[in-house]
């Protein structure tokens, strides 16, 4: 009888439509620029990446982790068995029972999804996502009933035509969401796009506990520098955007969003999806960019993004703190996308806002952002009796001073660090006037041409000398030297050189007994993780070890370690200065005050400047080297 066959026909039909949708969706990604990936290796590695790396992130929320394993695992298993039982009609009861078990697992999971959606937190998107748990439940229930006869629980033909009709509707609703929706842009798209995104991720180094945070260089010979239109992204970046599940974890962590600046990383990724597929953001059912209404954004794969899809202020609000990337369960790369679009604005349009263009022009003309005479770079060290590489040629430790050399507050940090090194008898020298800006700010402001030129010139200088380690007090320079210069280091100027942040280096000195320190006698101390030290380079422990070595028991802020909140100073944000309702530095200082600390220890001159810019009364702010130097036991030689 035809009616008996109806469910099977529906399954096959929806499966086919789903597959057509998926093929169509892949063609949207392929509009992006080519990028080489290892297809086979990626696909083989995918399950491992899913179970280990992705779940490592999801597990921070135990409830959701278990729920997802039950629902997702249950669904994949059920789908395979549904085909076996209901399409290929394999008539073994044991298979049917296995299917029932899988469906039950999924049903339980779906129930917990439903529960979370009863009173969803603000970060979650509503809209079609509210319907998802119901569709999941309908799917599970429908197939449970449909499978009971095959399992021998009910006689074949139970319920007659009426039941089959009802079940067919269930099949349409359930599979409509799960198969049709997967291919045609419903919430379930995340499963399909997410799987492929894990396989073809642009930064495969991130999997298996690795880290990959350096920005990718721009090909300066290209016909468009940076990303103007969605189709200017690499194809696997587009794929990545499509994997977003709109969980809003990025939004909840974003300092710019919290400050009421017009940026919401989740909305940004969704706008990229609108761009790659073409259309408007009218169906977006999550939080907006603060201060901007939803529904007015329009875009297409070949339309300029900043001409209607995303406003320029949105792109310039980001501090490149990577909190969103760190938090994203789908391992989407927000910062890459934002900087790619900034590159277009700076290098093609010449529209870096506020002080941006002045700073870039200064960097180009004087190798420092404030336009000071390059010959005055070493003035700060006039009384420091520091050796210069030009004279020494060979040394154990090269101290990379960074542009803090021009700033009186930062000079205090530099002097403290020099004093510590002297006390530990370190064989150290500086580049002196031969040093140049690391290029960090230029790169984050989208001027990769200037960054590349600085990197090459710095590397050429470094290549003339011999040293075992480079140590710097500036996490931004540290990041460039350690993670971004390698792309331009043709002659191996940094090959075999250990690049260290001063806290790591000082910690080595303290652990080896080269530095003798008294116990700290001040009040409560908290520690602020600089983004470019922590999330960018994974150094959370050395600064804490140092504080502990002074007998300090750190009063941690609620957001610390990999969840540390940015001070607002990164990514050129103080230069582009996009207005919000609050200042990010004020919010961070509130975090610090909430611990009752009297002293905030930091490991970055930029954080020091930002946090000290907060009006008093507030805890004191000191770089770790300044704290250490006060406790230094000076031996008389």
């Amino acid at each position: 009888m035809v009616i008996d066959w109806l469910p099977s026909i529906l399954i096959v039909a929806l499966l086919l439509i789903g597959v057509v949708g998926m093929l169509r969706r892949s063609s949207l990604w392929r509009a992006g620029r080519p990028e080489k990936v290892n297809i086979i290796a990626g696909l083989l590695a995918m399950p491992g990446r899913y179970f280990k790396d992705l779940h490592h992130v999801v597990e921070r929320d135990k409830y959701m982790a278990n729920t997802h394993v039950a629902t997702g695992g249950g669904f994949v298993l059920s789908m395979v068995l549904v085909l076996v039982v209901h399409v290929f009609k394999v008539e073994q009861q044991i298979v049917a029972w296995a299917l029932l078990a899988a469906l039950l697992l999924m049903l339980v999971g779906a129930f917990f999804v439903f529960k979370r959606r009863l009173n969803p937190p603000e970060r979650l998107s509503k809209g079609p996502w509210m319907r998802l748990p119901k569709s999941l439940i309908i799917f599970a229930l429908t197939f449970i009933v449909l499978t009971l006869p095959a399992a021998g629980v009910l006689p074949e033909g139970t319920g007659g035509v009426a039941l089959i009709a009802v079940l067919s509707i269930g099949v349409i609703i359930g599979l409509g969401e799960l198969l049709f929706g997967m291919g045609w842009g419903g919430p379930m798209k995340h499963a399909f796009a997410g799987t492929l995104h894990l396989a073809f991720h642009r930064r495969p180094e991130r999997f298996g506990g690795g880290r990959s945070t350096g920005l990718k260089p721009v090909d300066l010979e290209g016909d468009v520098l940076g990303v103007a239109k969605p189709s200017d992204f690499k194809w696997n970046q587009l794929l990545g955007f499509d994997a977003c599940v709109q969980c809003g974890k990025c939004q909840a962590m974003c300092p710019a969003f919290a400050a009421g600046q017009p940026l919401n990383p989740k909305k940004l990724i969704q706008d990229m999806v609108v761009g790659l597929a073409g259309g408007t953001d009218a169906n977006y059912a999550g939080s907006p960019y603060p201060g901007k209404e939803v529904g007015n954004a329009k875009g297409g794969p070949n339309e300029i993004i900043t001409a209607g899809l995303v406003s320029q202020e949105t792109l310039w609000s980001c501090t490149t703190c990577r909190a969103c990337v760190e938090e994203c369960p789908m391992m989407i790369e927000h910062v890459d996308a934002i900087v790619d679009m900034r590159r277009f604005l700076t290098m093609e349009k010449g529209e870096t806002p506020n002080k941006g263009s002045e700073v870039l022009e200064n960097i180009i003309a004087t190798d420092n952002p404030n336009g000071y005479a390059p010959g005055s770079r070493t003035n700060w060290a006039a009384d420091q009796n520091l050796a210069v590489m030009k004279d020494k040629k060979e040394v154990d430790v090269l101290f990379w001073v960074s542009d803090g050399a021009f700033d009186m507050r930062s000079q205090r940090i530099l002097r403290a660090f020099v004093k510590l090194m002297k006390a530990a008898d370190v064989d150290v020298a500086i580049l002196g006037d031969e040093e140049r800006d690391s290029g960090d700010v230029a790169r984050r402001l989208g001027d990769d041409a200037t960054f590349q030129s600085l990197a090459k010139r710095n590397l050429a200088t470094l290549g003339q000398y011999k040293f075992n380690k480079i140590v710097t007090t500036d996490p931004h320079a540290y990041h460039c030297l350690r993670n971004e210069y390698a792309d331009f280091d043709k002659d191996g100027a940094l090959a075999g050189v250990e690049v260290l942040h001063h806290t790591t280096f000082l910690n080595q000195l303290v652990q080896s007994g080269a530095l003798k320190l008294d116990a700290f006698k001040g009040g409560k101390v908290t520690y602020h993780d600089p983004c470019y030290l922590g999330r960018y380079n994974g150094e959370y422990e050395a600064p804490r070890d140092l504080l502990r070595s002074l007998g300090i028991e750190i009063s941690e802020m609620e957001r610390s370690g990999f969840r540390s909140r940015c001070c607002g100073g990164g990514g050129g944000a103080p230069i582009t200065d996009i207005p919000g309702e609050r200042r990010i530095a004020d919010m961070r200082m509130e975090d610090a005050s909430a611990t009752g600390a009297e002293l905030v220890a930091v490991g970055c001159q930029q954080c020091t400047a930002m946090l000290e810019g907060v009006v008093e009364p507030r805890p004191e702010v000191k770089d770790i080297s300044e704290i250490l130097v006060d406790q230094l036991v000076e031996e008389v030689h």
């Binding site: 349009k349 010449g350 529209e351 022009e361 005479a373």
Partner: protein, 256 residues
């Protein structure tokens, strides 16, 4: 009918680093030119078309730069003036003085002399060009402006008070065409005999302010100097006027 505007550009020099850059006033001349003529603006440089600084100007959105190709030692003036004679330009914009080379500030004057055009010095803005005339704002000290009407064609030297140059974008700068024509071979005989040395800071005359209150000090710092000892010579002969200036220069020990 759109007006033909030409901006002349030179290689500038950063005051702190001494490095080549787009010159401040010249790039303001390009900015004003873009305002008046959009991308029809003709931007002209006498020198080498390989000069990287030209790309910084081009990054302001110029599709092309006209380069009168000539050696560094060659005089820019003959090349530019013979180029301008072929162009039927309405307005030629230059900086007040270049940041490198002789930096005499004479280029606009000599060009005006050779072309027989009027020159307007220290222009802050050109407000309107209509019916063969332009409304020009001249920059005076302390932010003051004077509006004058000038008949086309004319040469204007652009003051630092003019609209600052827009940001230079790397991509368009890289892709702009350098259209080379042959320049002059005439050697700049004055320049050749010069030797360059870093400038010494000129001693500044101390202004003795006997102010008691902050308000007085503020006034003293901002008020227009009341030139008590100055005098206006209108009716005297040129001989007498020149003598008065000469005496003053001696008195001030500027020449001895």
């Amino acid at each position: 009918m759109p007006h033909k505007v030409i901006s002349l550009i030179s290689v500038g020099r950063h005051p702190q680093s001494g490095r080549s850059r787009r010159a401040d006033q010249d790039s303001r001349a390009v900015e004003l030119g873009l305002k008046l003529a959009g991308t029809d603006l003709d931007v002209v440089h006498a020198g080498s078309s390989e000069e990287p600084v030209l790309r910084q100007y081009a990054g302001m959105g110029l599709p092309k730069v006209t380069v009168l190709e000539q050696a560094e030692s060659a005089d820019a003036l003959p090349a530019i003036s013979s180029y301008l004679k072929t162009q039927q330009a309405d307005i030629v914009l230059t900086g007040v003085r270049s940041e490198s080379g002789e930096s005499s500030g004479m280029t606009p004057y000599l060009l005006a002399e050779q072309l027989g055009w009027p020159i307007v010095a220290r222009v802050a803005d050109i407000v309107e060009v209509k019916d063969g005339e332009a409304q020009v704002l001249l920059a005076l000290p302390r932010g003051q402006r004077r509006q004058v009407t000038v008949k086309l064609p004319f040469i204007a030297s652009i003051d630092n008070a003019a609209e600052a140059a827009r940001q230079s974008a790397f991509g368009p700068g890289l892709r702009a065409k350098m259209e080379a024509q042959s320049g002059s071979t005439e050697e700049d005989s004055v320049r050749v005999n010069w030797s360059e040395a870093p400038a010494k800071a000129r001693p500044k005359r101390l202004k003795v302010v006997k102010a008691k209150t902050a308000a007085d000090r503020f006034k003293a710092a901002t008020a227009k100097p009341q030139g008590g000892s100055g005098k206006v010579m209108k009716n005297e002969s040129a001989q007498e006027q020149a003598q008065a200036i000469f005496d003053l220069l001696i008195e001030e020990k500027i020449i001895r």
